[in-house]
């Protein structure tokens, strides 16, 4: 038996290419293409009165200028609302180019095509747009107050409103012996991948075919959306995704206005056109996430057990709703984490504001939900004077209660049923890893030295690997090399390695013989995309199933050739052989030759498969009625529902008593994503996630002023942490297999980021002795919180949260 690759910490095969500068990203393509640039709205809310392009016309190298007036048919209509939902009251989407109104700074108004991007930007600078400015609506409060509305024809700013309830939460809370309320606030951040968006289109007029390259998280989605808008048949559009320098969610949105305008212009001009987004465009005109206000009311017993939980969420969805309400749905369902809430009621309003759109960013609403739940757990502990870990343990769903039905509908429209998990075991592991039980002594000793240290704990459950499906195609070439394709795209997650590991085991071939293609509609047209930690679960399962089909066929053909029973055969190192008699065998490449009966011999290998070679069986056609030529397998994996990964983070922070700097001393993670395909890759995913969690907790926020101008649209002022700000991450794993898929795996892509804000807030709170209810928190803010606390403006812990609960306590 060859070594099993599944579960091995295999070095990522793509890394050498990517880290030695040999990657091929969107802007590396299309050297001869025209460049596009956009005139973007400088106002958060305005009516476009007039567009005067005459100033640009004498710019040398200018090719074309387009406004909404140049568009017709589906292109002139609003962009699609990708994920409809009955709770959406008024779903507004933008136009490819602004029609009459603009609703955020950065909205594309005019498209310029020119010889190169320099010239295109020169022309952009000379186009005069006359705007009648309208009132901006910035921030959740302003949106909720609705003194001003974002969209004409609406009487308020509520895009969607959803209530889900299990039991009678309000009655349960009213009857509970203890009750507290919390007001929580999380601000906007964003994915900010290293590579921005980008599109490069080639229109072949003779074949009437469009080849589109896009830096996207969904090739098949872009293909369908572009075909629909451009009035093309699906068969006329090929979408190829080159190397992608990060996505983190922002590139699952499609079609972007630019993603439509570029191929549209390429067809109109009969010339290749490319647009590679610059950093400022990415900040203002791509997408953000996170901003929510939450009001939590919770009733609980004297052991800290939840009796009723009532959460009211205001969610800022930005100017439009092209991706629907996935984010607040995820918040309101995943908020429950590993706990049994008693009765639960959650209500959210998704609000329009005149700012960049809000769509999923790694974690996709979970960081906010976990923030609400974990802040609540800490508040209960403070209220009862209990250990914070004990309160959590008192509320855990137990392993023997799995599968556990939370009674809600999840983001995939299917029941929120946890498939498996062992939360008490995770808690034991994290307590041990961080030294939870010894921390009080450490904190007291530090305080005696004038130092402030604190510890925090936060738990989460993450629904991963939602459907509807992904496909796998595996093919053995006559050379014995194996080609694997799956439709979803890759943005650096290591799919080439992980999927090859899976296929290597299934087929019994060395990894070095396997190549994996993702995100190419020519190789796998049926696909959904990369999001919601679904790559390994969905495509991993699909390629495993496809490889199993291929293997079955290979064994059948080899059995004929070897005059053996297929049941007695195995594949080892790319060779089909009789179990126990390895000398009796045949190379997989030769099986591939035999699988395809030929008339013509064009090389030595193919000679073996021609009509006059070998013993023919005249009773059967060369290809049997229920068979196909070639050694290939295709299959699709479509899960019943999502699989639920989980984890717990614990962090130790130190805050400077004078400067209010916040330093992370330790960051510990216990992570359970079922069976690990590759622990190295999973740990890398956790590290990256933690980095973004720390970012959202201590550094990043989108600073809009009241006029809707983004004040920090650059990496100078948007504080993405450097390597020097990201702590060392200590990881321990637990492997609770998923019963839902053939490999027992759960998703791991987003996990690391999810509890970041919650766990760091808890640790800072522990160090400071007063409640932290707003994230992120900067040294400047902590300084002001301390001032307020010193003046009695914030109650000390415990009891900091108790307002309505006091009477009962």
């Amino acid at each position: 038996m060859a070594t099993r690759m599944f579960g091995m910490p295999v070095q990522r095969t793509e890394d050498e290419r990517l880290i030695t500068g040999k990657g091929g990203y969107l802007d590396d393509l299309g050297a001869g293409a025209y460049a596009a640039a956009f005139v973007r709205s400088p106002h958060a809310h305005a009516r476009v009165r007039d567009i005067d392009v005459t100033g640009a016309l004498d710019v040398e190298g200018l090719v074309a200028v387009y406004t909404h007036e140049d568009l017709s048919g589906p292109m002139a209509e609003p962009l699609p609302l990708l994920i409809p939902h009955p709770a959406i009251l008024d779903g507004r989407t933008p136009y490819a180019l602004a029609k009459e109104y603009v609703h955020y700074v950065g909205e594309p108004v005019v498209m310029v095509v020119a010889r190169d991007r320099y010239v295109a930007e020169d022309a952009v600078g000379r186009i005069a747009v006359d705007y009648e400015t309208l009132d901006p609506v910035v921030g959740i409060e302003a949106a909720a107050r609705a003194e001003r509305v974002v969209h004409a024809g609406m009487s308020d700013n509520v895009a969607a409103h959803l209530v889900q309830e299990v039991g009678d939460a309000r009655a349960a809370i009213a009857a509970a012996p203890n009750r507290i309320e919390l007001d929580l606030d999380i601000e906007r951040s964003a994915c900010t991948p290293m590579e921005g968006r980008g599109v490069y289109a080639r229109w072949d007029g003779r074949d009437a075919m469009l080849r589109l390259y896009s830096s996207t998280q969904t090739a098949s989605g872009v293909r369908a959306a572009v075909a629909a808008k451009l009035g093309l048949q699906l068969g006329q559009v090929e979408v190829v995704v080159p190397d992608v320098g990060g996505g983190f969610g922002v590139k699952i949105v499609h079609p972007w206005p630019e993603e439509l305008m570029v191929p549209w212009a390429a067809r109109a001009l009969g010339h290749e056109v490319k647009w590679a987004e610059d950093r400022r465009e990415h900040f203002t005109a791509a997408a953000h996430e996170r901003a929510q206000r939450q009001h939590v009311t919770v009733g609980f017993d004297d052991e800290g057990r939840l009796l009723g939980l009532d959460v009211d969420i205001l969610h800022d969805n930005g100017a439009y709703l092209p991706y629907g309400i996935i984010v607040p749905i995820v918040t309101s369902t995943q908020l429950l984490g590993p706990y049994k809430p008693g009765a639960y009621r959650v209500e959210f309003r998704s609000l329009y504001t005149t700012t960049a759109i809000v769509t999923p960013y790694r974690g996709a609403g979970r960081p906010q939900g976990v923030f609400a739940m974990e802040r609540t757990m800490d508040a209960i502990a403070a209220h009862l004077g209990m250990d914070r870990a004990d309160v959590r343990a008192a509320n855990f769903i137990q392993p023997e209660e799995m599968p556990y039905d939370q009674g809600l509908l999840f983001q995939d429209g299917r029941p929120l049923i946890y498939d498996s998990g062992d939360y008490p075991a995770s808690l034991e592991k994290i307590k041990k890893l961080v030294g939870w039980d010894d921390f009080t002594a450490y904190r007291d000793a530090a305080r005696a030295e004038g130092r402030k240290v604190g510890i925090g704990l936060a738990c989460y459950v993450e629904g991963t690997g939602p459907g509807p499906y992904e496909g796998g195609h595996v093919q053995v070439e006559t050379s014995g090399k194996v080609r694997v394709a799956t439709g979803l795209t890759t943005q650096g997650q290591g799919h080439q390695t992980a999927l090859a590991q899976i296929v290597a085991d299934e087929l019994g071939v060395p990894m070095s013989d396997i190549s994996v293609t993702t995100g190419d509609t020519r190789r796998m047209p049926y696909s959904v995309g990369t999001f919601a930690s679904r790559g390994a679960v969905m495509s991993g399962s699909a390629v495993a199933l496809a490889a199993r089909r291929l293997k079955e066929k290979a064994l059948r053909i080899a059995a004929d050739a070897l005059e053996a029973d297929a049941e007695d055969l195995e594949i080892v190192d790319g060779r089909v052989q009789v179990r126990g008699t390895p000398s009796a065998g045949i190379e997989l490449g030769t099986v591939a030759v035999l699988s395809n009966p030929l008339r013509y011999a064009f090389d030595e290998a193919s000679k073996a498969a021609t009509q006059f070679t070998g013993a023919a069986d005249y009773t059967r056609p060369p290809v049997a009625a229920d068979d196909e030529p070639g050694l290939e397998g295709t299959d699709f994996y479509s899960p019943l529902r999502s699989t639920f990964a989980s984890g717990m983070h614990a962090v130790v922070v130190e805050t400077d008593p004078e400067t209010a700097e916040i330093r992370i001393l330790r960051y510990c993670v216990v992570h359970d994503c079922g069976k690990l395909v590759n622990p190295l890759i999973v740990e890398g995913q956790v590290h990256g996630g933690v980095a973004q969690g720390v970012a959202g907790a201590l550094y990043e926020r989108m600073e809009y002023d009241s006029g809707g101008q983004l004040l920090n649209a650059s990496f100078m002022d948007f504080l993405m942490p450097y390597a020097s700000e990201v702590p060392k991450v200590e990881i321990d794993h637990l492997e609770t297999p998923s019963p839902l898929n053939p490999l027992g795996i759960k998703g791991a892509g987003e996990a690391g980021v999810i509890p970041g804000a919650a766990v760091i807030a808890a640790a800072v709170e522990d160090a400071e002795g007063f409640a932290i209810t707003r994230m992120p928190v900067s040294p400047s803010e902590l300084f002001h919180l301390r001032r307020r606390f010193d003046k009695g403006g914030i109650a000390p812990l415990p009891g900091a949260y108790s307002r309505t609960g006091e009477a009962n306590a």
Binding site: R117, Y118, E121, R280, E658, Y722, S778, P779
Partner: protein, 289 residues
Amino acid sequence: MKPPPFAYHAPTTLAEALDALADVGTDGKVLAGGQSLIPLLNMRLAAPGHLVDVNGVAGLDHVSVDASGVRVGALARHADVEADDDAAAAVPLLRQGLRLVAHPVIRNRGTTVGSLAHADPSAEMTAALALLGGSVTAASTAGRRTISAADFFVGPLESSLRTGELLVDAHFPRPPAGSGTAFTELARRHGDYAMCGVAALVTLDDDLRVTAARAAYLSVAPVPLVLDLTEAVAGRTPDTADFDAAGRLVRGRLDPEGDIHATAEYRAHLAEVLTARALREAAGNAVRR
């Protein structure tokens, strides 16, 4: 984020450079390390018609040390100055400050003199020059002049450099005998411009008593401000001096502006805290010298 069109000049001698600057007048800009200028061009916040790239001009990349101090040529990179052991021995504040300037890759390209020319009140080198009472040399087709730090920094990103002038070098004087210096700052991220920074110089007499204590501030005033804090600690030894009192002396003498990273109040508070820390460290370094 592409620069607007400009004409590019690449002189190879100082004379050519000065001629080019005289020719292009107010429509021209010197290009040194480009670490500040190129982002401004790419964001189209500046649109000079001419760039005079001085990187090819011979004889401007020196870091020379003599009895008076350290002279830094216009093309000496931050990294060159930082790595120069003689310079660090003569004027320790240079290395103390330079390791806080951005990140190594930016220091490899950015010039110390360019940083002074840029006159950013958040820059470490402007504060260092101001604290030490240094000067710069400006050259033009009309001749040369020496400008003291006090006269050079006029406002945020504003200096007394005239059209057609090139800064050829800067002079950082040795601190007086018995002095120690220190540089301390707080930035949101490692290498960022500081929310507040303090460069301090403490001079001790032979009995190790403080005779002078001064501090220069970054990011809390429109120019690199220098405050004399001697009165709070005069006559005390480093271990008996009340540096916190010196910090409190700063109160009311600074009027910082708030921004998205730090409120004005917080910056003022940091100035106090960091003043005490920097003076304490400088005094310690004075003892060790």
